[in-house]
């Protein structure tokens, strides 16, 4: 349970950062927090207390003791995707800084309506 709460707190903090913080880098951190929270959530879903790796060929391990392997696979994928996203975001921020000379999002308002 604590994992779930923790995960959602992480997500909430990430959203908070995106909405409130004016610094582009902090916004990226917010994004990272969200994806970390999500990953935490996925892993915690598959987690069984005291479980082991799900290896069917290994004798003596009951199926209910196994940790669900699927969420872990999902997490791995999600981490990869999140990382690439962050990299792209960082690149954008770098170019934005080149254009505007600042990291303040309040200055980056060329497009509206």
């Amino acid at each position: 349970m604590i994992f779930y709460v923790g995960a959602f707190i992480l997500i909430a903090v990430g959203l908070y950062a995106i909405i409130i913080k004016k610094n582009l880098v902090k916004i990226i951190i917010g994004l990272d927090l969200i994806s970390s929270g999500t990953n935490l959530l996925i892993v915690s879903i598959g987690y069984v207390k005291g479980g082991t790796a799900p290896i069917f060929s290994h004798p003596g391990i009951l199926p209910q003791m196994m940790v669900d392997p699927v969420p872990q696979a999902l997490t791995l994928t999600a981490i990869v995707i999140g990382a690439s996203e962050l990299a792209l975001a960082a690149a954008f921020v770098a170019i934005l800084y080149k254009h505007y000379g600042t990291l303040d999002i309040r200055k980056v308002r060329g497009l509206k309506w």
Binding site: I42, I45, L74, T77, L88, L111
Partner: protein
């Protein structure tokens, strides 16, 4: 011997070409630009090959690693998915042909790779039968789209790309959360399996994961008010990319929502809520489009409005509504893609995106302007173009929908179509009958740009002349979509 009828090829082929591009890029960056057309052409051929099969079986299922669903990642192509895949391949082909001439900025190899990835992601999204795969496809699409939006690296596109990126990532995370919740509840990721197992949950229990999935996909699908990135991102991208984004990407996201809502969650009672969202999308999109001075921005807002329009039709939940939605999707994809391509071609001549600068160019750029008019007419739903039939179907469906003060809905819909007519006619008036600015030298865009959208225009005209088969097909698709058991049985039928 490759089995041409395996839908996995739809993903595999473009992916292969992406890697191929990565391989040949060090040798010749220019050569990479010939890869997307080839890839999309192959995809188009495959999808066309698939038509008889889908028509016969309803749903064709392809599996990976030889394991039957629900246990492995699988691909399930039904009528709607296939038609969207056809549109995606077609638009991809057209846009990549357009790119040959249009994209001059470096790095071209990266652009082409991203472009191919975008096409892959979209195709993947519409044919996948797996929730997590949907997420992955969604991310592939989004990330390549982020990259393409920011491709020009000027102030506007970077800003738009960044906005898009932040919104898109949040959306992806939300989608993932929803998917995981579903997994936690049902223990499977296969759509059909989830659909079967979810029946034991109450409406309220289902609503939590649904709200996450809906929101996550809604961001990409340009639903109000999650669509705020769109009017920035679509115009900022190169026009060929905009045409893909507007033409098929939002539609693919809407497809995912439709798939989740109808097939997976079996929701019909939720539709009023969606209806409201759709209506708001329509109203805000069209109203904002009316005030635009920038042609691409106007088209982007019009995309929002159109999305609202067909999403509205879908959310009516009736066969006819779905039929109308599908017809409008088809119409919108083709027309809007063409309009963006034409806008791009015009911008290369006018060097401005301001509508006022477009006045009088109809006399110089005859082909472009005429096809612009055709696209706009089709989009507005003027007969004999296809849009007329889809508009008609949607209106009929709306009035058959009796939960509401339906007349009010129809009045809103039609009022919006008046507004749409208003701004499109305004643009066309200034194009055809406005005064040409002094001292500007404008001539028809180069054939490399003209031919692609002319092809699209011919498709639209063909639809205008022979609407009947498509209407019949769309009805079949709608029926298939609404009878989710068919889909579920087809996927799980092997068990």
């Amino acid at each position: 011997m490759v089995n041409l009828t395996n839908p996995i090829l739809l993903i595999a082929v473009p992916l292969f070409f992406v890697f191929l591009a990565a391989v040949i890029a060090p040798f010749s960056k220019r050569a990479t630009k010939y890869l997307p057309p080839v890839a999309f052409l192959i995809n188009l051929i495959i999808t066309l090959y698939l038509i008889p099969q889908v028509a016969e079986k309803g749903v064709i299922v392809a599996t990976t690693a030889g394991i039957k669903p629900p246990f492995a990642i699988n691909i399930a192509v039904d009528g709607l998915g296939l038609s969207l895949a056809i549109i995606a391949s077609l638009l991809g082909l057209i846009a990549s042909l357009y790119n040959l001439k249009y994209i001059t900025e470096e790095p071209q190899d990266k652009f082409n790779m991203l472009f191919l990835l975008l096409g892959t992601g979209i195709t993947w999204m519409v044919i996948t039968g797996d929730m997590f795969n949907l997420f992955v496809a969604f991310e592939v699409t989004s990330i390549s789209a982020f990259g393409l939006v920011g491709f020009l690296r000027d102030k506007d596109s970077i800003e738009a790309g960044f906005k898009y990126l932040v919104m898109g990532s949040i959306g992806a995370s939300l989608l993932l959360i929803g998917v995981v919740m579903l997994y936690a509840a049902t223990g499977t990721l296969n759509m059909a399996d989830i659909a079967e197992k979810i029946a034991r949950f109450s409406f309220r229990q289902k609503l939590l994961p649904y709200s996450f999935i809906f929101t996550g996909l809604g961001i990409e699908g340009a639903l109000f008010p999650l669509n705020a990135w769109l009017p920035d991102a679509h115009p900022a991208a190169p026009s060929s990319v905009s045409s893909i984004l507007s033409g098929i990407m939002t539609t693919a996201a809407i497809y995912a929502i439709i798939r989740a809502t109808v097939t997976v969650f079996n929701y019909s009672a939720i539709t009023p809520f969606i209806l409201l969202i759709a209506l708001l999308t329509l109203v805000f999109g069209e109203t904002s489009a009316f005030f635009q001075k920038d042609i691409k921005r106007m088209l982007a807002y019009s995309t929002i409005g159109q999305t609202g329009f067909f999403f509205f039709a879908f959310s009516l939940g009736s066969v006819q509504g779905m039929q109308g939605a599908f017809m409008q999707i088809l119409n919108h994809s083709l027309s809007k893609a063409m309009l963006f391509l034409i806008a791009g071609a015009m911008i290369t001549q006018v060097h401005s995106r301001n509508i006022d600068d477009f006045s009088g160019i109809g006399k110089k750029m005859k082909i472009s302007s005429v096809f612009f008019a055709i696209g706009a007419f089709s989009l507005m739903g003027l007969p004999p173009f296809f849009g007329f039939w889809s508009k008609l179907t949607i209106i009929f469906a709306t009035l058959a929908y009796t939960n509401f003060y339906t007349i009010t809905l129809v009045v809103i819909l039609l009022f919006m179509s008046v507004i749409e007519g208003a701004y499109f006619f305004r643009v066309m008036q200034s194009m055809f009958f406005g005064k040409l600015k002094e001292g500007t030298e404008i001539k028809e865009a180069s054939p490399g740009l003209v031919v692609p959208f002319v092809i699209l225009g011919i498709v639209i005209l063909t639809l205008a002349i022979y609407p009947t088969p498509i209407i019949a097909v769309s009805k079949k698709i709608a029926v298939q979509l609404i009878h989710r058991a068919v889909y579920i049985n087809a996927v799980l039928g092997g068990l």
